[in-house]
Assembly symmetry: C2
Amino acid sequence: MDDPVVGSKVAREPAMTDVARLAGVSHQTVSRVLNGHPNVREQTRLRVRAAIAELGYRPNKAARALVTGRTQLIGVVAANSTLYGPASLLAAFELAAGEAGFAVSLKRVRVLDRTSIAEAVEHHRDQRVAGIVVIAPTASANEALADVPAGVPLVTVDGDPERATAMVTVDQHAGAFEATRHLLDAGHRTVWHVSGPPDWFDAMGRVRGWQDALAAAGAEVPPLVAADWSAASGYRSGQMLARMPEVTAVFTANDHLALGLLRAMSERGRKVPDEVSVVGFDDVPEAAYFIPPLTTVRPDFDAVARETLGLLLAQVDEGEVADPKRTVPPTLVSRDSVAPPPA
Amino acid sequence: MDDPVVGSKVAREPAMTDVARLAGVSHQTVSRVLNGHPNVREQTRLRVRAAIAELGYRPNKAARALVTGRTQLIGVVAANSTLYGPASLLAAFELAAGEAGFAVSLKRVRVLDRTSIAEAVEHHRDQRVAGIVVIAPTASANEALADVPAGVPLVTVDGDPERATAMVTVDQHAGAFEATRHLLDAGHRTVWHVSGPPDWFDAMGRVRGWQDALAAAGAEVPPLVAADWSAASGYRSGQMLARMPEVTAVFTANDHLALGLLRAMSERGRKVPDEVSVVGFDDVPEAAYFIPPLTTVRPDFDAVARETLGLLLAQVDEGEVADPKRTVPPTLVSRDSVAPPPA
DNA sequence: CCCGGTAGTGTTATCGCTAACAATCAGGCC
DNA sequence: GGCCTGATTGTTAGCGATAACACTACCGGG
């Protein structure tokens, strides 16, 4: 007897016709009220609203999507990564999209290769999403985007700055430039760089920013120390750099590399910042509690998210956008890991 | 002239009838092929598949959802947090769901309060999701779940262990118990604990595991040091504990607390692990590169994700599940932050 | 007084799919 | 041969919304 039955049929979710019947109007009028159509008498509108409330009616999005051919859904493709940058970006975007009334359908891929990304994009197209956002920080992801047919609103985040398509990125070059100049300004003759993986655009942008800052200052460009994003590789790089007395300043491509480097320096007895200065990138929440507190570059993920959403919605509404590339400058956060070089 | 037109009508996405016409069958037969219905002749099946491929046909999910009343969508509600635990859980779940053929619709909320969660759940119900997963690690989130009407398949992750509803959690108690016992086994007379925020179930479970391990060993229970999850509060707690010579072993509720604590110990000249042993919780990727490498407890997020998905799908298929609570035990990862107490 | 315009509302067709049932055909059995 | 059975396929009727158009008052102007 617990089954919700009315008469002989099982109760189902109320539909527009149920509301219409209760309010004594046609279902079309209910639709007009729901969509804010102007030509509905105030009194009718109120009756319909009351009926909606009474029945607990909720519009069926599938039906609407079927007839309009659109959804209020944004598809996001991201790597299965908990790296701080991508994860923060994702969270910021989901929040921004949600607050703009869009649902976010997320597809994680194990690897950012052509097949996976193509599949994820197809998956979203199957769902008839309004637009797609791809977090594509690697070269392989970039290639995959070539396969995406035009006509689908699509914004790339953290992708290849050379691409002509719609894209939003953190200004890696400016951040790295500023980090490097900050170290030079402290009096260091040059700055070493521990870089991220070479197939990441973020990493490459930071390398170029570093190089350009050195060049602008007329400083010697030391060999690049290639690593990945992990504390482990930062540690290995640090073990090498710690043995070289001429190394007095290091800019690492992210904070976790810096963490590993700090440990290597500490093990070798090289004091930071007295003997070696270090600047990171990302400003992870715990960076202020490294030993010593880390000077680093903070990207504005909220701004990237807002720009991304704006660009995507502009494409949805207008089809094409004139200048579809946005760059968001990061800021330097100064803490205790930078000092003048030893005399 | 660039518009894709055929005859006098603008080309639209091919529908089932287009496939049917090309294959010389009825649209229903196409539907049967798509849904793997048994009674279709092999030859017909092949003709239909060929037509599908030729047209690049993709089924319209909105139409299917409309008629079946179901979707292949799972709604997830999560806080807008980049804390390692919740973020990893989320990523693992999204991947698992995706590989099981489900799309994930994600709704982030700024705060885990009653209103936000209720709204997020409504949002998902509007979308007619097949089921909902709420990552509800705090007391406030737990309250909000009381408002969710029965009948919607729903699984809580990291929620209140006392709740009777479907839930999957990391076994906080077991992890904390093991961490504490590991320190006692090393010879420490007792173990101090720096806890997470008291409104988090994770934090409370870890506190109880710690207490029970001390009680089981007949060790004295020192006062609890209450903190939040941040390295900052770990640092503050560490500044206090570093001054107390009787403190030789500390279990922190997560790795970032441990990081802050390590820095405070280092500043005060208390050597880890020679004078003070430390165990964390989470096994963040960089924990192996703390100074010293951190012994910690590693939750199995992939297993939690799998259990969650399994439980949710079981509810979708069977309505009710007999024993809807799953606990996933974590494992201790031993590194260099634990040693016997100083003589 | 008739006409056209406009506000407000209803009627009907349609989106693309699945469910239910009907129709057809072949083979086996009496 | 006629009938039953099962495999295969087609026909029809919705699902719940929007779009297009039709209809009814009511208004003012000629």
